[in-house]
């Protein structure tokens, strides 16, 4: 028998965790120490392969890891302690689950003999995070730890990506056991995500596409998740078919906004041409999107005359909200590759000139127009200027949630995938600032901008301190209208203009706040100041809080009112008080 003390695979649980991170190519971990993870922090201290980014709140670690993952395609890794450390992670875990972001979260737990005893900083982490994760594990034996960690990385990154939690009691971190590098048998044999699409279904899809008179391609976050090749294949498919293409919020950048076939984003605040094309199409190709309620409007009037093809890696996305005719289960990139090959071999570009003429008429409505103003900065104008002045630069954009998020999606043109980080499914205010931290960690030399609102940004503002500590020159571009703009918009449209608690009376002075954090504060109050201030922001190689004072009561249009179909959009020039009141059936008359 060999002497176990010389076996390099004999180590403590805490050492195994760091070793597994290294074996999975992890370079950065976002975290916050605490009693139940101290052995792991001790291991982190004694090595230099994995860099730890210390956040100011565990939620910040989670969103930073999401930004890191979304901008690199690699899993984001989080390390937090038991009890409050774990419960503070519930929001980012749920956010990552909704948007299919691969996260591996390691939580400390009280020692196994204390589990269930209401010990200090104990909570039922696996119980609490079960519906917030793709899968989770409580490791009770140090000899299971290596296998579980490897499985965790596999589950998070394969199939439909998502967050996982590995809960490790403190005695397991101290205990010595045998580590092994990743191997195939680490994974549940019951977990077999399907990657390749069914050939018969793909042929059926090509037959529909080839004979389409009024087609549309509707792509989503799945194309981004699938990797850069999927976006390339999507572009080739658009080129080969000549079809118009629209995208969900999560899918922006897969097809370039400057591309000739681009219709803009669809859905509740999508463009008129995108939504009308969806409504009137005869063949719809949905790639990596899930017919979310912000996209469909009323489901019984959603694209009533079309045959629908749906490519998705998750079978449970098929027929969940909208019944489709040709489901194809598989990875977007893989299926698009096969689809493109069959299309090129067996079909030719259908003649859809008449359809494009119709679309041109819808485009001519210019649904994103807004009236110009020389005295007050309009939020749409601010985003347009930000876009123009950062064009051609190596830029990543994150957002918070609300009006500014929709304006960013409408007015910032994304040319490449992985450049746009936003909380789509869960709609988490406070996502953007820590996400920008994560993006900047992954891309230290790039320009990383969080387009924020004055309300959202305060939810995780403490992460400015993280940015300063780690010299991450993130730019927080706050569209400051002193309101929770989207809440106020809904109150105006649906609740008789009773603005219940949507006004922030005591906002901080963001410039002074920047000063207090040791970063740079900038402010613009007039349209004439804006360009200069944005250029200054870009030039500064330190974190910046940019207080952009915008029109207080501007609303986000176009808009599909609730309970309406795609062809019943409210356009900006039509959004008079009277028309708005009428469009919102059941809504009170507007004051």
């Amino acid at each position: 028998m060999t002497d176990k003390s010389h076996d390099p695979n004999q180590m403590t649980g805490a050492a195994m965790i760091v070793r597994a991170l290294i074996d999975h190519g992890v370079q950065h971990v976002f975290g916050y120490p605490g009693g139940a993870v101290l052995p792991i922090y001790d291991e982190i201290f004694q090595q230099s392969e994995v860099e730890h980014i210390l956040v100011r709140h565990e939620q910040g670690a989670g969103h930073a890891a999401e930004g890191y993952a979304r901008s690199t395609g690699k899993p984001g890794v989080v390390l937090v302690t038991s009890g409050p450390g774990a419960t503070n992670m519930v929001t980012p875990l749920t956010d990552a689950l909704m948007d299919s972001i691969p996260l591996v979260c390691i939580t400390g737990q009280v020692p196994t003999h204390l589990i269930g005893n209401d010990a200090f900083q104990e909570c039922d982490t696996v119980g609490i995070t079960r519906p917030a994760t793709k899968h989770n594990w409580l490791v009770r034996d140090v000899n299971d730890l290596a296998r579980v960690l490897h499985e965790a990385f596999y589950v998070a990154t394969t199939g439909r990506p998502g967050p996982v939690v590995v809960d490790v009691p403190k005695d397991v971190q101290f205990a010595t056991g045998t580590y092994h590098p990743p191997r195939k048998s680490d994974v549940h044999i019951s977990y077999t995500p399907r990657v390749k699409g069914d050939a018969t279904q793909i042929r059926k899809a090509v037959a529909l596409l080839a004979n389409a008179k009024r087609p549309v391609i509707y792509s989503g976050g799945g194309v981004i998740n699938s990797g850069p090749e999927a976006s390339q294949l999507l572009r080739q498919l658009v080129e080969a078919t000549g079809f118009p293409i629209t995208s969900t919020l999560m899918g922006l950048g897969a097809y370039p906004a400057s591309g000739p076939n681009w219709l803009g984003m669809l859905g509740m605040h999508g463009t008129y041409e995108a939504n009308m094309t969806m409504h009137d199409c005869d063949v719809m190709l949905c790639v990596g999107a899930r017919f979310d309620d912000r996209i469909t409007g009323r489901t019984d009037a959603f694209s009533p005359g079309s045959k629908k093809i749906h490519i998705d890696i998750d079978p449970s996305s098929i027929n969940k909200n909208i019944r489709v005719d040709v489901p194809i289960i598989g990875d977007c990139g893989n299926v698009l590759g096969d689809l493109l090959q069959v299309f090129k071999a067996e079909a030719k570009k259908p003649d859809i000139k008449a359809w494009w003429q119709q679309i041109a008429q819808w485009r001519a409505r210019n649904s994103l127009s807004y009236r110009k103003n020389n005295d007050i900065i309009l939020p749409q104008y601010a985003i347009q200027r930000l876009f123009e002045l950062t064009r051609g630069k190596d830029t990543y954009i994150t957002t918070e949630v609300g009006q500014h998020q929709m304006w960013a999606a409408q007015f910032y043109g994304f040319e490449e995938p992985h450049r746009w980080m936003t909380s789509g499914g869960l709609g988490t205010m406070g996502y953007g600032l820590p996400a920008a931290v994560g993006v900047q960690v992954a891309h230290p030399d790039s320009l990383v901008i969080d387009i924020a609102g004055d309300a959202s940004v305060q939810m995780t503002i403490q992460e400015m301190s993280t940015a300063v500590q780690f010299e991450l020159p993130i730019k927080i571009f706050i569209l400051n209208n002193q309101y929770m703009g989207m809440v106020r918009q809904w109150q105006q449209l649906l609740h008789g203009n009773r603005l219940s608690h949507s006004y922030s009376e005591a906002l901080p002075d963001f410039v002074k706040l920047a000063d207090a954090y040791g970063c740079v504060g900038l402010q613009a109050t007039k349209p004439s100041d804006l360009d200069g201030a944005i250029k200054e922001m870009i030039a500064i190689k330190r974190p910046v809080l940019f207080d952009c004072r915008v029109a207080a009561l501007e609303n986000c249009f176009p808009m599909i009112p609730s309970g309406k179909a795609h062809n019943e959009m409210l356009l900006p020039e039509e959004a008079t008080d009277e028309a708005t009141a009428k469009a919102f059936s059941g809504g009170k008359a507007l004051v």
């Binding site: 119980g127 019951s190 009323r298 489901t299 809904w490 649906l494 919102f584």
Partner: protein, 180 residues
């Protein structure tokens, strides 16, 4: 279409509900039942009956039998949602196989004397229920069959002095030589 002020489209679905029996083969590991039940409660699905036990201890396999109701679209969702859980091997819709056998076991306690006692015994005999415990004033019957037969037997016992019932929930298996 009139609906109250809402950020969501409030849809009324008119598809009729169906009852389906699902067999779910899972890895028998801590928390697996909580995952399955959490899925049903979290997504608002119904559980009419749930039966679970380890069936192959060597392979750590458990079989969960769930009777659920929902529109055809919801039933399809339930199956997909179950199937994508990491420890789930297979989900089979026993109702769609068209040739499955469903059985449930119940223990039924009846208390009484005189004619009621005689009548309870006579009915138990007709339903092939066995007496597994008896006192001078009570019986416990064991009855096996499909759920409706058991419900029928319980209804008949009610006026004869029914005290309580313990039912196992439905177990299901397909006919013929093939496994799930």
């Amino acid at each position: 279409m009139n609906q109250p002020a809402s950020a969501y489209f409030l849809e009324e679905r008119h598809d009729p509900n169906e009852t389906h029996t699902l067999s779910v083969l899972v890895q028998n590991e801590p928390g697996v039942l909580a995952r399955v039940i959490g899925l049903f409660s979290g997504r608002g699905y119904n559980i009419e009956s749930l039966t679970v036990s380890e069936t192959e201890s060597q392979k750590h396999l458990s079989r969960i039998t769930i009777v659920t109701t929902g529109t055809p679209m919801v039933i399809q969702q339930i199956k997909h949602q179950l199937d994508r859980m990491i420890p789930v091997y297979r989900v089979v819709d026993m109702t769609l196989t068209g040739s499955s056998i469903e059985r449930e076991l119940a223990m039924v306690k009846v208390r009484g004397g005189g004619d009621h006692r005689v009548e309870a015994l006579r009915l138990a005999d007709a339903f092939r229920a066995r007496v597994i415990d008896a006192t001078t004033e009570s019986f416990v019957f064991e009855i096996t069959g499909n759920s409706s037969k058991i419900s029928q037997f319980i209804d008949l016992m009610r006026p004869l002095g029914l005290v309580e019932v313990s039912r196992t929930g439905v177990a299901a298996i397909t006919r013929g030589p093939e496994g799930m």
